[in-house]
């Protein structure tokens, strides 16, 4: 199995505030990694660095042997934790725009996702409820035939029915030739979907491993292990 993502000795500081410190990670293709940790542990910063939206202070990131750049943006699909679509735009028009930007955007797949998610596409984005907006965002991101998917808090502020749909969409989209990182602090919902987990603590990995092996070793769920790791914070 070859590594799709390699991160070595990554540091990121905002002025004196050190967010990531000597961070290392290897992610092979075919894996879904859960990036777990409370607010402020560095999850979003890490994803933005991989997506190429931030520059490392030092250290290296390689995605398919290429450092984050306009090239990797062609095969890394990023779901930010904030709104990133034009609010005044109709969904169909936004799909045209997305297709212009990303050569790997599959419009047929996008409309399949929209049907699956029960979102009507002849409306403006700002008319959508929070849950439907989240489903729409995810549909855009998963409809790219990318090598690496980065999902920052895909379940935040979404009701349980929508959560089920989103989790189902993530599983449907699983591909052996790509990998996915999902950041969240809602561990119990996403747990059965994850291969690997990494617990982030003050910018370094406090604990990482295969989710099934961790369950077997400790006789605990990932959610319970999460509570243990961060209890003293």
């Amino acid at each position: 199995m070859s590594s799709l993502l390699r991160i070595s000795h990554l540091n990121k500081s905002f002025y004196k505030n050190e967010v990531l410190a000597d961070f290392n990670m290897d992610l092979p293709e075919g894996k879904i990694l859960g990036l777990l940790g409370p607010n402020g542990s560095g999850k979003t910063t890490l994803l933005k660095l991989i997506a190429g939206l931030l520059k490392p202070t030092s250290g290296e990131i390689y995605i398919d042997d290429c450092q984050p750049s306009y090239i990797t943006k062609g095969y890394v699909s990023f779901l930010p934790d904030c709104d990133f679509l034009f609010e005044d735009c109709k969904i169909d028009r936004m799909a045209d725009y997305y297709a212009d930007f990303f050569a790997d955007f599959d419009r047929r797949k996008f409309y399949e996702f929209m049907r699956f998610m029960d979102v009507e596409s002849h409306q403006k984005i700002k008319a959508l409820s929070k849950g439907n907006k989240e489903k729409l965002n995810l549909s855009f991101v998963l409809s790219r035939k990318a090598r690496l998917y980065l999902l920052d808090e895909p379940l935040g502020g979404v009701d349980p029915v929508a959560r089920d749909k989103i989790i189902n969409a993530i599983i449907k989209n699983y591909m052996e030739k790509s990998a996915m990182i999902i950041s969240t602090h809602l561990v119990d919902y996403i747990e059965p979907v994850l291969d690997e987990v990494a617990f982030l603590h003050h910018g370094t990995i406090a604990l990482a491993g295969n989710a099934e092996d961790l369950r077997a070793e400790r006789g605990k769920s990932i959610d319970e292990i999460y509570r243990e790791v961060y209890r003293n914070d």
Partner: protein, 124 residues
Amino acid sequence: MAYAFDERVPIYLQIIDEIKRQLVTNKLKGGDKMPSVRELSEGMEVNPNTVQRAYQELERLGITYTQRGMGTFVTQDEGIIISIKEEMAMDAVRQFAESMQSLGMSPQDTIKCLEDYFEKGAAQ
């Protein structure tokens, strides 16, 4: 609908248990074709690699076999199905015996309770 897992136990072991249960209750029969890894993972809302791991283990145990290009099938070996049933029955007995023991019941009391239970059940 997602399957309700106990997430303190590795999920692939629970998938194996569920398939064994379907076998002894005849929901799955010898020679039946198993769902594909992708179908089962979507149905159970579980990572496909986890389902793959369960399938590998089932094959290692001789419960299923793979036919190239055709898929995975349930064994037609009756002996294996009978031994799974015995094994699951022993597990149930062990759990029962342990919970009776924790109530301070002696083996004799336990057997007596069980006999009473079945007699009452038969009377109803």
